[in-house]
């Protein structure tokens, strides 16, 4: 059933993202052609300026849309009229949350990849390709001495990034779900809840940090961090540990948002 929910969630959202991805890549290429055709001649020309402006606006639109779609899908598909169908499907309530969070993380990652790819398209030419081909082995060689610990840290960075996207998504879902209790001004209430939860999160973070500093938990970390300049081997475990704590921290907040949202949707649901 989760697979089905994800399938339809992707179907509902891909008609917005896929054309946008296509447009961005096309406009990156168009700009590329302007640049490579003759930079001096086209550099200040009107078509180039227009094409470049459209490209920049499309990139901006991509990230705005990622946020708008995330909010709209939750609001309309669960708490709006479509919720009458969503909540009468024979699936556990948390599966709606699971599917929506997974698909949001997927589109956010894809959007980042497409944006990066378009910049690569814009910047790349035969020369850079040649350089990359030649430079790749030495690039790999440069990281060789770091060994497995480098990939460990890299994996942690990726996990932290994915968890962070999911955590922010769930933070927004919780805000909308709580905002929905307000009979009027639902969006305003949701925004207030979002800010309120953010403040709480900040306060908790700084309290923990302060307590940590007082208890000298972090001294090892700072010493380790300072030793970064003495070599990777000494600092990698410290960095790995720090990232691990970050991941756990994000996980705890994400889990709190998840369970509270699920509780509201399954125990306190009141569709209008």
């Amino acid at each position: 059933m989760l697979g089905n929910l994800i399938k339809y969630e992707i179907r509902a959202t891909r008609r917005i993202f896929l054309p946008l991805y296509g447009l961005i890549l096309v406009f990156a290429l168009v700009n590329k052609i302007f640049i490579s055709a003759n930079y001096d001649e086209f550099g200040g020309s009107v078509p180039f300026t227009v094409a470049m402006t459209i490209y920049v606006l499309l990139i901006a639109a991509l990230f705005v849309m990622t946020l708008v779609v995330l909010i709209q899908r939750f609001q309309k598909n669960l708490l709006g009229d479509e919720g009458y169908l969503s909540f009468t499907l024979p699936v556990k309530t948390h599966m709606h949350l699971d599917a929506k969070t997974i698909v949001t993380v997927m589109w956010t990652v894809l959007s980042l990849i497409v944006a990066a790819l378009s910049i690569f398209l814009l910047a790349v030419d035969a020369n850079t390709l040649q350089q990359m081909r030649e430079g790749w082995p030495s690039f790999l060689r440069a990281y060789e001495p770091f060994g497995a610990s480098f990939y460990g840290v890299l994996a942690e960075v990726i996990i932290l990034a994915l968890f962070s996207i999911a955590e922010v998504t769930l933070h927004i879902y919780l805000s909308i779900a709580v905002g929905n209790f307000s009979s009027r001004h639902k969006l305003l209430a949701a925004f207030g809840v979002f800010l309120g939860v953010s403040v709480v999160e900040q306060v908790v973070t700084s309290l923990l940090m302060n307590a940590g500093v007082r208890a000298s938990i972090f001294s090892d970390f700072f010493v380790g961090f300072g030793s970064m300049r003495y070599g990777w081997d000494a600092s990698a475990p410290v960095l790995a540990g720090f990232l691990g704590v970050q991941i756990a921290y994000t996980l705890v907040f994400g889990a709190l948002f998840y369970f509270f949202t699920d509780w509201i949707l399954s125990r306190k649901l009141n569709l209008e």
């Binding site: 009229d81 909540f87 499907l89 125990r267 306190k268 649901l269 009141n270 569709l271």
Partner: protein, 232 residues
């Protein structure tokens, strides 16, 4: 006890309004029940509680002895009073959707009914009139082989000519053992298919009776009795 839907002291209030006042009710299997009451009497609230779209403030509603949840949603086919269809799917798409989620959904049935109502399965839901969307929803709901059908104002937005067809559709597509709860205030149109009626007003059950009893004892049609009971 062999009731498919049961309410025990079911209470629901909204800010400034008591929508259901400790309702006790038991609907047996295999009946066609009219849930009748004026606008704002609590019909939709009762139905939404049974489908888990509202949370009761007190008491409970049970379907086959269970509170609304995954198991009850498998056996209840619900037609809300509003359009719950999204605007990006085609009719075909929404039929696949129902097929994917409800094990008791029969696609052939749905396509057959669409054909008879001259609705093109490739049409987008977005381009349809409100009445056509309601017909599509009814087809979706009646193409399930559910144990309990709950239809909230199934004919409200449909022209009188299509009403008879829809009532026939409802009657022709529900299985013998199933129960049908129809909420409406258009009583004359549905009266002929009902076995039982429940009159509800201001959150209270005013009367429950079989239609035969009303005709024999009161010598009245359900419509006439309704007008008498709910006289303004």
């Amino acid at each position: 006890m062999d009731s498919i839907l049961e309410c025990r002291n079911l209470t629901k209030y909204f800010p400034g309004c008591l929508a259901l006042n400790s309702v006790n009710l038991s609907i047996p299997r295999g009946r066609i029940v009219g849930l009748l009451g004026p606008n704002g009497s609590g019909k939709t609230t009762l139905i939404k509680l049974a489908n888990g779209l509202l949370t009761p403030n007190g008491g409970e509603v049970l379907i086959e002895g269970r509170k609304p949840g995954v198991e009850t949603k498998k056996i209840v086919s619900y037609l809300p009073e509003r359009t719950y269809l999204n605007d990006w799917m085609s009719v075909q798409g929404i039929i696949d959707f129902f097929g994917d989620f409800y094990a008791d959904f029969r696609k052939e049935k749905a396509y057959d009914m669409l054909g008879r109502l001259h609705i093109n399965p490739r049409d987008r839901l977005k381009t349809m009139s409100k009445g056509t969307k309601e017909k599509v929803q009814l087809i979706l709901v009646m193409s399930r082989e559910a144990e309990l059908y709950v239809l909230d104002e199934p004919i409200g937005g449909v022209d009188p000519a299509a009403r008879d067809y829809i009532l026939d559709t409802i009657l022709g597509n529900y299985s013998e053992n199933a129960t049908l709860v129809i909420s409406t205030h258009l009583i004359t149109d549905v009266e002929k298919i009902l076995d039982d009626v429940i009159f509800i007003n201001m959150g209270n059950i005013v009367l429950t009776s079989t239609v035969d009893d009303i005709r024999e004892k009161e010598k009245k049609s359900v419509d006439a009795l309704f007008r008498e009971v709910f006289k303004c």
